[in-house]
Point group: C2
Chain length 260, copies 2
């Protein structure tokens, strides 16, 4: 079978990672389109990848185009490539499929990788669930083939359900990271080393692979240890933000497990 | 050198894990004292371990006793073994060394493993930081030897600083797990699979081993994406607890990065 010709528009975090992911298959030829050339130094040496410093309307030679641009630019870039014969996809968790559907008659869809991307971090792309959606069964099959070529799994999901998954991703990723950040800043202000918490943070994340998080909750709020909670709130008296979060999380844990 | 004779009092989560950890060294002979016999089936087949169904005042043959009991029982169990010649340690993050010091003239201290323990989970004990404290340099050296025999690292820390580390552990472990639990319950209520979030959760935790969490924050609150935030709050309208947490975390992220 001929290789799939894939164009990726945008060389931000997402574009660079999608480029790394799909170029790992010999059955996919990737062209990355970048307006600014940013980050292209990071993918210069990938095989199966051509870099074009250009983001205008693209030629008709691609099977699939992925718009790896800001949510607010998806519709504009899709409209620019209105006449393109490729299957045109966006890669956003919180953007409806109709953002592209509004400017194309057919051959459009979504390929949303449920993962967080930092430009330097190496990832195992085969572990990432791809939430996909398309305007036809034929196009769902093409997206599925693309994803399976890199060893990953697709999950067909409506825009509404994808948005719920995206909200959940914000909660477990952005908010957990913020808890880590607040702890880091708190410990640094006390001249204590944040690094000592890394094994604990990893075990907390790994632990839920084995059991449901709602079944393994521990800590003072879960066991109703008022004395420790009061002391912790006192210790946070000069740190009003973290104190409010401590209070809110404690109330929520107490409410959840009292109900049961 | 003769093996260290270690007595561990209590066969809860912590006692069982300490038993597994220290019995991995051939230079430590472990006796686990359990009042109820709970969980002892889990450690029956460990080498270098004797199990005693008893928790009364212990005989004088141990070099070190670790009180792996509830925080509120530490002082009572220490008082019961007031005359014992061993070095007597508690293993609590939030309990002052003086809880034992009040009932013993000398040879007391703390050995606090900064990790979360679930009874079934296997752990790499060599990765756990042990925060230690003692009434003398000689006793600090003995605790250090015990910990180094299982390949782990000690960090000498005052009761006050240990309490700050414990509070931080509650934030990164208990609160993150609660975010996972709330997402799990939210997704289940929408018939969507929580498991799809596991690779993201793991990457979020692993990512901070490479860069400081305050430097890798992402998401709608960080980038000031009001439209997505409003939509998320609307999606949580029937979930008042999670909505409050979403709101509080968003305010806190906005405040932190606006300041910078």
């Amino acid at each position: 079978m001929k290789a799939i010709k894939l164009g990726i528009i945008g060389s931000g975090n997402l574009g660079v990672h999608l480029c790394r992911a799909f170029s790992s298959s010999n059955d996919i030829d990737v062209t990355l389109f970048s307006r600014s050339g940013q980050n292209t130094g990071l993918i210069n040496d990938l095989k199966n990848v051509v870099i074009e410093i250009d983001q205008g309307p693209l030629t008709n030679e691609y099977d699939v185009l992925i718009l790896a641009v800001n949510d607010s630019s998806i519709q504009d870039v899709a409209a620019q490539n209105k006449e393109n014969g490729a299957l045109v996809l966006h890669a956003s968790g919180s953007t409806d499929i109709s953002a592209i559907g509004a400017v194309r008659e057919k051959d459009y869809g979504v390929i949303y990788p449920l993962q967080t991307f930092h430009i330097e971090n190496e990832l195992t792309y085969a572990d990432i669930p791809f939430l996909i959606e398309a305007d036809s069964v034929r196009n769902l099959a093409l997206i599925t083939r693309l994803v399976e070529l890199i060893g990953a799994k697709v999950h067909i999901m409506s825009s509404e359900n994808r948005r719920i998954m995206h909200l959940s991703a914000v909660i477990v990723n952005n908010f957990s990271n913020h808890l880590y950040a607040l702890s880091e800043l708190f410990l640094t202000s006390k001249d204590l080393p944040f690094d000592l918490l890394l094994p604990l943070i990893n075990e907390t994340a790994n632990g839920i692979g084995q059991r449901r998080p709602s079944e393994i909750q521990t800590g003072p709020a879960k066991r109703g240890d008022k004395q420790t909670i009061e002391r912790h709130l006192y210790m946070l008296k000069e740190n009003s933000d973290l104190k409010k979060i401590y209070h809110q999380m404690t109330l929520s844990i107490e409410a959840l497990y009292r109900k049961r």
